[in-house]
Every structure is written in structure tokens, then in C-alpha cells.
């Protein structure tokens, strides 16, 4: 069964028949985590790096921001029996328009925020497909933990 993760949204699951998918990541970032032993996984699609932009909005929907969404993703997977040291972590998105190094950098800042959070919490990224001017769709198969990324207009690639 396909479970769609919207923009500023997250789904976690331990149902082997679930395929989590999030469509058309532009500057947003998709984070997929999976514990192969507990067979628990989750997919987060956040839009912005930092909840200080609007704490009230972050309280309403933590999945909008990296700093509120990522901890929730991990916590909800732990609640289903996942363990941190077993989690495989894969990341996609963070696209950018062409040109300037300093402007229109939400994609880059989204990625930097994730790296900061992971560094602080000793989380390693197993594989990633980020940056560039690409639109990406991301899949997580709960039966196997396999993650695929589809760049729109190109073939499916496994992460």
C-alpha cells in the first residue's frame, strides 16, 4: 500500500506492505530512516531549516522545519521499537535554482540544518542525493528498507 507523505509531513510505520512516498522535493528535504531488525521506518518531508521563523507554527506542525521535524521522526520510530544504532539514514532533495551562491539558498540551508542536527546527535548519513537544480521523488519500502529516488524525467535510482 502506498502511503503519501505531503509537504511538511511525516509518516512512520512498521507495516511491511507499506511503501512510503513523498513527491516532488524542490528545496525541501526528504529524510528516510529504517531499522532492519525492528522493521520500522519513517519518512519526513520538511520545508524550512529553522523553527525560530515561527515557533507557533512549529508547535502546530513540527514537520515544517528541520529542527523540530527530524527529532520527531527519530522519536516516533523509537516508539515503534527502532534503535538508534541500527537506523539507516538516507537523505534527498535540497534543490536550488541556478546562479548565486548567497541567494535563493533555502535548499542549501535546509541541508546544512540537517547536517548540524546529525553532527550534534552522532547520526551518520548512509547515502544521499541532494542539491542541484533537480526535482526529486523519494520512496521507502517498509518490507526491505530500500530507498529509491526518482529525479523527474530520469530513471529510478536506489540510495
Amino acid at each position: 500500500m502506498t502511503v503519501v507523505v505531503g509537504v511538511a509531513d511525516m509518516k512512520v510505520s512498521n507495516q511491511a506492505n507499506h511503501l512510503l512516498v513523498t513527491h516532488a522535493l524542490g528545496s525541501c528535504i526528504g529524510v528516510a530512516v529504517y531499522d532492519p531488525q525492528a522493521r520500522v521506518g519513517g519518512l519526513l518531508h520538511y520545508m524550512l531549516p529553522d523553527s525560530s521563523l515561527d515557533p507557533a507554527r512549529a508547535a502546530e506542525n513540527p514537520f515544517m522545519f528541520a529542527d523540530t521535524g527530524i527529532p520527531r521522526l527519530f522519536r516516533e520510530c523509537y516508539a515503534l521499537g527502532a534503535q538508534k544504532h541500527r537506523l539507516a539514514v538516507k537523505v534527498a532533495g535540497g534543490g536550488q535554482v541556478l546562479g548565486g551562491e548567497e541567494h535563493f539558498q533555502i535548499g542549501r540551508r535546509n541541508y546544512a540544518a540537517l547536517r548540524r542536527i546529525f553532527l550534534r546527535n552522532n547520526v551518520l548519513v548512509d547515502n544521499e542525493e541532494v542539491g542541484g537544480a533537480k526535482a526529486r521523488t523519494m520512496f521507502l519500502d517498509l518490507a526491505t528498507g530500500r530507498v529509491w529516488v526518482k529525479v523527474i524525467g530520469q530513471n529510478l535510482v536506489e540510495l
Binding site: V7, A8, G95, V97, G100, H103, F104, A133, K134, I152
Partner: protein, 294 residues
């Protein structure tokens, strides 16, 4: 090999612009619009009133009372909001066909166009621009060139993308190199054929800012920026992804910082959720047939 002769031939066979939207465009610059004038506009399409009421009653406007008539919609929403709804409802027929050169999804271009219209509206409010209805309309129609060019882009897509990657140029410039003309230029020609107001035509023609003239009108810059923000938001992205130029001088011109862009995206994500009623406006093949009868 340039495909310009074929593309120009396609333009000769362009169906008429939907008459309701055409008449509504002519009301854009009018300070006061009466209910009689609006009734006069919508009477050309008997089906349109139902769509107008559907949008008026949607979560996007969040009215407490149910609207049953155009008159009531005018009273509760005001002329400008109603005009936006009429233009969006009237333009749907243009967008009924798939544009596989640009979008995988059948109604991808319509969804992108509505998103850009909503973002332009939001941006106009943020910048305290007075012409929000024009911003909405220009956002809605900025990519009409893709309707005609889709067929040709589909044939040459990998070639165009190879030029984008190799020369590090934006998609519309690669289109021009490979096909001889870009979707923005084709859109500008369509706007000329359909006799759009000049300002709207210029926005369509210059919305990727590849000519100095583009910088002469704030409305062009506003729609350009709305388009870029919608691409960053990501939903309904086209096959070319985000392969367009980001011009920092536009941000300086409007005195916007990166943080403001983040805030705009945040607000947009809520209104986008509530605006899904607009996405449903485009119908099936029947709408296409009716479009040709104009």
C-alpha cells in the same frame, strides 16, 4: 534544425481564448465593477457559475455563510476576489490537455499555474502592491506558451536538458537554442494573438528575465519571483526541475531577505492546502471540445 516554422504554424491554429476570461481580463484595470458587468461576463458560459460558487464556498476563502449567487459572492468577497475566481474558472479550458513535454501529470501545468497565481497574490500582498488581481492573473497565465510548445519540447527534451547541463544555462535559453524559440516567447506571441492587455503580455514574454526590458516593470519581477518560489516549494515541479536563474537583484529591488522568502513559503504552504479546490476545476476531454467551439 529550427522548429520555428512548425511552431508558428501551431500558433496559426490556436483556438480562441476562452471568452469569459477574455472579458474578465478587460475589467482588470477598472476601479469599480458592477454586478451587472460581472453577470454580463459570465453569461457566456452557463457552466461557470457553479464553479464560481464552488470556489467561493471553499476553505480558501473561509466564509461562514454559504454563497448561493454571484450577487452574494460579490458582496461577501468583493469585486477583486470575484474577478480572480472568474478568470481562473474561465481559463480552465486552456489547460485541459496534458503537456507531457513539461509535466508528467496530466494537469501538471494547470496546478503549477494556479500555484504561481496564488504565490503572486501572496507576494503582492506582502509587498503591499495594489494590483493583486493583475498579479494573480499574470501568475496564472505566465506559462501559456508551454501549452503550444509541449509537443516540441517532448521530442527534444533530452537534447534540451543536455544543453542545460553542459552550458550551465537556464532551461528557457536551452529551449531557444534547440527549438529556436522559448516557451516564454511563444507565450508572448499567444498573448498578442489573443489581444491580452499589454502589461500581461510583457509579463508572459519576459517572466524569466532574460532581457533588460524585463526589469522595467515590477509586475514582471513579481511573477518571476513567484514562479521561482513555487519551484522551490516543489510540488507540481516540471520535468526541468529548478533549472532557472535566480537573480539576487530582484530580492534587493523588493527589499526581501532570505528569511522573508522562508516566511512566504510557510504562508504559501497553508494557502496551497486550502486552495486545492482550484486544482479540481480542470475537467476532462469534454472541456477541450468545448474550448474549440470557443
Amino acid at each position: 534544425m529550427s522548429l520555428i516554422p512548425q511552431i508558428l504554424r501551431s500558433l496559426k491554429h490556436l483556438p480562441p481564448f476562452p471568452v469569459v476570461a477574455q472579458r474578465a481580463l478587460n475589467l482588470l484595470n477598472q476601479p469599480e465593477v458592477s454586478i451587472e458587468e460581472l453577470v454580463e461576463v459570465v453569461k457566456f458560459d452557463p457552466g461557470i457559475t457553479a464553479n464560481i460558487l464552488r470556489i467561493s464556498n471553499s476553505a480558501y476563502f473561509g466564509l461562514r455563510r454559504e454563497i448561493h449567487s454571484l450577487h452574494q459572492a460579490l458582496l461577501l468577497l468583493g469585486t477583486q476576489e470575484l474577478l480572480k475566481i472568474i478568470i481562473a474558472s474561465g481559463a480552465t479550458r486552456l489547460f485541459a490537455n496534458a503537456t507531457p513535454g513539461y509535466f508528467q501529470e496530466h494537469h501538471g501545468l494547470w496546478r503549477h499555474s494556479i500555484s504561481c497565481a496564488l504565490m503572486a497574490d501572496l507576494l503582492a500582498r506582502e509587498l503591499a502592491a495594489t494590483e493583486r488581481t493583475t498579479a494573480f492573473t499574470a501568475g496564472l497565465l505566465h506559462d501559456i506558451g508551454k501549452i503550444v510548445l509541449s509537443l516540441y519540447v517532448q521530442q527534444k527534451f533530452s537534447q534540451i536538458m543536455a544543453v542545460v547541463d553542459k552550458r550551465k544555462i537556464p532551461f528557457q535559453q536551452a529551449e531557444k537554442l534547440v527549438l529556436g524559440i522559448s516557451h516564454a516567447e511563444v507565450g508572448g506571441e499567444m498573448a498578442r494573438i489573443w489581444d491580452f492587455p499589454d502589461r500581461l503580455r510583457l509579463v508572459i514574454h519576459y517572466h524569466h528575465l532574460d532581457r533588460p526590458e524585463a526589469f522595467a516593470d515590477d509586475m514582471v519581477l513579481l511573477v518571476y519571483l513567484a514562479d521561482l518560489l513555487v519551484m522551490m516549494f516543489g510540488q507540481d515541479l516540471g520535468n526541468e526541475g529548478l533549472a532557472y536563474d535566480g537573480f539576487p537583484q530582484v530580492l534587493r529591488h523588493f527589499n526581501l531577505r532570505e528569511r522573508d522568502l522562508e516566511r512566504l513559503l510557510m504562508h504559501f504552504s497553508s494557502s496551497w492546502g486550502e486552495a486545492k479546490v482550484f486544482f479540481g476545476l480542470v475537467g476532462d476531454g469534454h472541456a477541450v471540445q468545448r474550448a474549440h467551439r470557443g
